[in-house]
Every structure is written in structure tokens, then in C-alpha cells.
């Protein structure tokens, strides 16, 4: 199968959605500009025109409200935020209207709105261009949250999101944009609320959210080097969350480490641990742990930024401690083939 980037997968999914459904449109700051949101909207304006592909004023609150209004009228808008941080301007509409309209209007209306929001990382983007705030919407019933990691899932999740008759927050991590993988040309959808086992293992389960699924996958390779077998799960959907798949794995390995792509206090990792904690366990005591961004705003200085994020090696170290029961200061030697990708913009 041909390999394409995450960017191209998102672009292609959008193109096919717009092609196949005249109610689909895409809008948001700069979706129609020459840089076309990292290329994810490239060519759409020329193909579908300014009615279906339009940039907006800097007015996130009203533009979110407008998306909800359009969706109530039966359109299927995709609203793009080049930074998830800016979603904080949209919370009133998403929480108080979008997530509630179907219920509080007794089922008389619905809001098939997709919100694409990107998490920044690296190159000193700093405190306000780096946040993974999706857990704040996991907290709210009435809205779905999906965070695809691979180009394959990026395409299938976007198609599922736009066809979903409820609001969906579609989370992208910008480092993922450059990854490449096999992606079918035809349209397909990910099943709602289904996690993916990226790698099977027996000693410890590692669940990684969004980009952290890749880091977890790399961590499993470091662990393999020292004879530890890690099962890696990408939940893909954070709301609804696939408790079953995660629980089955944790029951098998007896250990679960959840890696957030944001702060883990009241985060996705907290939710995963809470679900595990509530489950029925026979006699074997499961070990449960989580990692997330350091509990502070993201510092731009490269030396501090490095310390801020979990990465394959710190994840491996944590998992090893869980398996061996010994918390030492072991860290694997960095393997060149498992290095994090570099990011130097565009911003």
C-alpha cells in the first residue's frame, strides 16, 4: 500500500468527506492561507470554493458558536485550531452549548461538529503553545474525544468524527504530522470507542495517549533490550474510552502504566487509572502508575523542555521499576533508531 504522511491522511480524509457529502465544510483561522494548516487543508479552497473552505476573523468564541449553529442546521462543519491552547476561548460554547444541545433540547437538535485542535511541542514554543487540554472535555458528557496517533488512524478517525452526529474533539499532536505510513486510498472509519493494541507483551501494559503512544512503543523496544515484554495500547478514543481492552491487558500483565500527552492530574491517565482501580481484581494486586507533562507550564529553554516531557527512555525506566519492583536510576542508552523526531517549525 502507498505510504502517506499524517498531514496527507488528514487532507485526504477531508477532501473525500467534502467530495462525498455537500454538507461538510471546513473553516477556522488560516485554513485558506498559503500554509494551509501544515498542508492539511492544501488544495481544498481551489477545489471547493470559499463557501466551504474559509478562514475567519480572530474570534474563537463566536466561530465555535457559529459552528454549533451550522451543525444545528444540519451542516457538518470542521473547525480547525492550529493550537489546542486556543480552545480555551471556545470552552463556553463547547461545554455549555455544543455538548448539551441534543440533551437539553430533548433530542430535537444535534451538533455534528468536529473540532480539530493541535498540540504543539518543541522548539521553545513555550507555555501557551504546548498544552494537551483534552481531559477538560473528557470531563463533559455529550462530546466525544479522539486522538489518533498514526496516519492510518488519522484518516479513519477524521471520517468517523465528521460522520458522528455529536460534537467531536479531534486531537492532533504536531510532531505526528510528519510521520508516514500505509493508508488505504478508499474511505474508511475507525470504530467508535475502540482502542488498538500496538504491540503485544506479557510483563507490563503501557497506554500512551496520542504522540505518547509512539513514545510508549519506542519504550517497549528499550524494554525488550533488557528482557521485559511490554504490551502497548493506543486508546485512540478518549471519550468513549475503551476500558475493556485496557482492562483485559492489565489483567494479563498485572501492571499498567498510562502516559498522558498533557498534565496527568485529572487527565486521561488519571481516568484510566481510576477505571482500573474500580474494576474487579481477583487476588493479584495490580501495579498502576502514570506519567505526564511535568506539573508546570512548558518552559522554552531546550534543557528544561527536555525534562518536561515523558519520553521513550523515561517511560522505559518507569516500566522497568514496576516490573522489577526496584526503583533505581536506570535509563537506557539512547538508541539512534529510536530517537524522537526533531522539530524546527513551521509554527
Amino acid at each position: 500500500m502507498r505510504e502517506i504522511t499524517y498531514v496527507e491522511a488528514v487532507r485526504e480524509a477531508t477532501d473525500q468527506l467534502m467530495q462525498s457529502d455537500p454538507d461538510v465544510l471546513i473553516y477556522g483561522l488560516d485554513v485558506d492561507d498559503p500554509k494551509a494548516i501544515q498542508g492539511t487543508t492544501a488544495g481544498l479552497l481551489a477545489k471547493y470554493g470559499a463557501r466551504r473552505v474559509f478562514g475567519t476573523p480572530l474570534s474563537e468564541d463566536a466561530m465555535t458558536a457559529a459552528g454549533i449553529g451550522m451543525a444545528m442546521a444540519g451542516l457538518k462543519p470542521i473547525h480547525v485550531h492550529i493550537r489546542m491552547d486556543f480552545l480555551m476561548l471556545a470552552m463556553n460554547q463547547l461545554v455549555n452549548l455544543g455538548a448539551k444541545a441534543h440533551y437539553m433540547y430533548g433530542g430535537q437538535t444535534s451538533v455534528p461538529l468536529t473540532i480539530r485542535a493541535m498540540i504543539g511541542k518543541s522548539w521553545g514554543q513555550g507555555a501557551q503553545h504546548s498544552q494537551g487540554l483534552y481531559a477538560q472535555l473528557m470531563n463533559v458528557p455529550g462530546i466525544r474525544v479522539v486522538a489518533p496517533t498514526t496516519p492510518y488512524d488519522a484518516k479513519g478517525a477524521l471520517i468517523a468524527a465528521v460522520r458522528e452526529p455529536n460534537p467531536v474533539l479531534y486531537v492532533e499532536q504536531r510532531l505526528l504530522h510528519f510521520t508516514k505510513a500505509a493508508v488505504p486510498e478508499a474511505m474508511y472509519e475507525l470504530p467508535l470507542g475502540k482502542a488498538r493494541i500496538m504491540r503485544e507483551g506479557t510483563d507490563v501494559t503501557i497506554v500512551g495517549v496520542s504522540y505518547m503512544a509512539l513514545e510508549a512503543y519506542r519504550a517497549a523496544q528499550y524494554l525488550e533490550d533488557i528482557g521485559i515484554s511490554a504490551e502497548v495500547i493506543d486508546p485512540i478514543w478518549l471519550s468513549p474510552l475503551d476500558h475493556e481492552t485496557i482492562l483485559t491487558s492489565a489483567r494479563k500483565t498485572g501492571r499498567l502504566l498510562a502516559i498522558d500527552n498533557g498534565w496527568s492530574t485529572c487527565g486521561a491517565a488519571a481516568e484510566i487509572l481510576a477505571c482500573m482501580a474500580e474494576a474487579e481484581w481477583s487476588d493479584r494486586l495490580p501495579k498502576l502508575a502514570r506519567l505526564g507533562f511535568a506539573p508546570t507550564a512548558c518552559p522554552p529553554s531546550p534543557v528544561l523542555e527536555n525534562l518536561y516531557y515523558p519520553n521513550a527512555r523515561t517511560i522505559a525506566a518507569k516500566a522497568k521499576g514496576m516490573v522489577t519492583g526496584i526503583a533505581d536510576d536506570w535509563l537506557p542508552e539512547e538508541r539512534r533508531d529510536l530517537r524522537e523526531m526533531e522539530f524546527r517549525g513551521p509554527f
Binding site: 465544510l25 463557501r51 466551504r52 475567519t56 476573523p57 474570534s59 468564541d61 463566536a62 466561530m63 465555535t64 458558536a65 457559529a66 459552528g67 454549533i68 449553529g69 451550522m70 451543525a71 444545528m72 442546521a73 444540519g74 451542516l75 463556553n92 460554547q93 455549555n96 452549548l97 444541545a101 441534543h102 440533551y103 437539553m104 433540547y105 430533548g106 433530542g107 430535537q108 437538535t109 444535534s110 458528557p141 455529550g142 466525544r144 460522520r163 458522528e164 452526529p165 455529536n166
Partner: protein, 316 residues
Amino acid sequence: MMDVAGEMYAQAYRIRRAEEEIARLYPTDKIRSPVHLSIGQEGVAVAICAHLRPDDVVFSSYRSHAAYLAKGGDLRAMMAELFGKGTGCAKGKAGSMHLVDSAANVLGTSAVVGTGIGNATGYAYAHQYRQLPGIVVCFFGDGASEEGIFYESMNFAALKQLPILFVCENNFYAIHTHQSKRQARCDIAGRAAAIGVPSEMVGNNVMTLHEVAGATIERIRAGDGPRLLECQCYRYKEHVGPGEDFHLGYRTEDDAEIWRKDDPVRQLATLVDTDLRQRLEAVVEEELAAAIDFAESSPWPPADELLRDVYKTREG
């Protein structure tokens, strides 16, 4: 055929009486939902909605009984909703503050001030997108015009030349605080115009408003982009609840008296001959009694409604 004044009187009387009944019933605790009455302000919804067609769409706030009814919302379903019954317009999930009747194109009444302005703007975009003939009308208060979403939405509506009429019901108060304590320049129409939405201020005369609204809506239907009408009016009752509030001291009976003398329902009554008026009133009274009866006798929603409608189920 009945003339415009007659039709408007019937509607205004209906709204007035429905709200009076709500106020009368409130102390019985049968209506367990905060109610924001429009008594005194009905002229605005009535005069505007007189120009609307079924395929035009209305958005409003928590103070929406008048707009809901004037646009053709079902009175029985509204009463049942206030009673929290399963036959309510939203099956007991809306209460007074989120009335909805999609068959009548009454959508999106919201209790977070200002939110509907943006939703209505998006809805108007959808109409333009689909080249539908219907326009969108969005009612909100003077207080709502202070929220950022008002400004952002005006700009977008003007930029895209959307088929929308913004109706600011300026009753001079947000809860107990006068406009002059909240707005540096008390000229909402002027603000909208500076952003790019042609606007007009209209006083409390219902027939004048009816005329201005007619001309304005005609321009919008002709594809001439959005408009705003700032409509001065006065709320007689307390901000929320069935009572009066002059004892609070933020406004006086004398202030109210000036407006009461020019009461919108009475303005219209004087334009209709006594015979017709009495017949119209009788029809309303009958409808109203039946609606209250319907609300009273309807069943509660079943327990499993609690978790229904959280997510819309996908078709197909």
C-alpha cells in the same frame, strides 16, 4: 380576514395571559423551574415575528416565552415543559430556560447570556450556504450586547453578509443594574453599526416597530446582509420569578408607570374593535386553560429518560 393589529393583539394577549398564568401558578410549586417573564416587553417579539414565515428561524435567551409563542411554538408543550412533564417540548430536559420547538423553527434558547447570538449567526451561515429562503432572527438583551460574542458575531455576520436580524430587547437592565452602569456609551445600535451591521433604534410603539421591522426584514430577504434593531422596552416583573421587585430599590414604581401607561398589549387592544377583541380573548383563554390542564395531567418522564439523548445515535 383579520388585520395586522388584530393578529398582533391576539398574539400579545396570548403571551401576556400565558405569563400571568405562570405567575399565578408559581406559588403552588408546580412549576419547578426559574421563570424569566416578558410581561411588559411582549411588543417586541410580537411585532418582529408578525413578519416571519414558518421557514424563518428564531433563537432567543432564557427570557424566551414571548419569542417562542410569537414564532408559533406549541403552548401545551411549553406549559408541560415548565411543569417538568414528559410531554414537555423537551421531555422535561429544558425547563423554562431552554424552550425549543423545531417544528416551528424555534431553536436554541439558552441561559448563558449571549451564546445564542453566535449560534444564530452560524445558523444563518447554513441558510446562506444552502441558499435557503428563510432568515434567522436572534433575540437577546441589552446585557448580552456587552459580551465579546456579540462583537465577534456582528463582525462575522457583516463580513459574510448573512441573512440575519439581530433584535436587542433593551429593557435597560441586566438583572438589577442599569445600562448606564455597564456601558460606556449607551448606544447598542451605534456599536453594531461601527462593526458593520446597519442598525436602528426603535421605541416602545408596537406599530412603529412593526413597520420598521417589516422594511428591515425585507432588506434582509433581498440579500442585503444582516441588520440590528435595538428595541426599547420595559420589564414589569422581577428579573426572575413571578413577583414584582420595586422594593429592591434599583428602580421605582414611577419609572415603571411611564411604561405601563404605554403598555404594548393595551396599545394593540385600542386598535381592535371590542367585539373582535372579546372573541380573540376567549379563544386564548380556552387554549390556555387546555394547556395548563394538559401540563397538569401529563405524566412525569420515565426514569430511563435520564440517560437518553446524551448522544445522538447514528443512523444507518
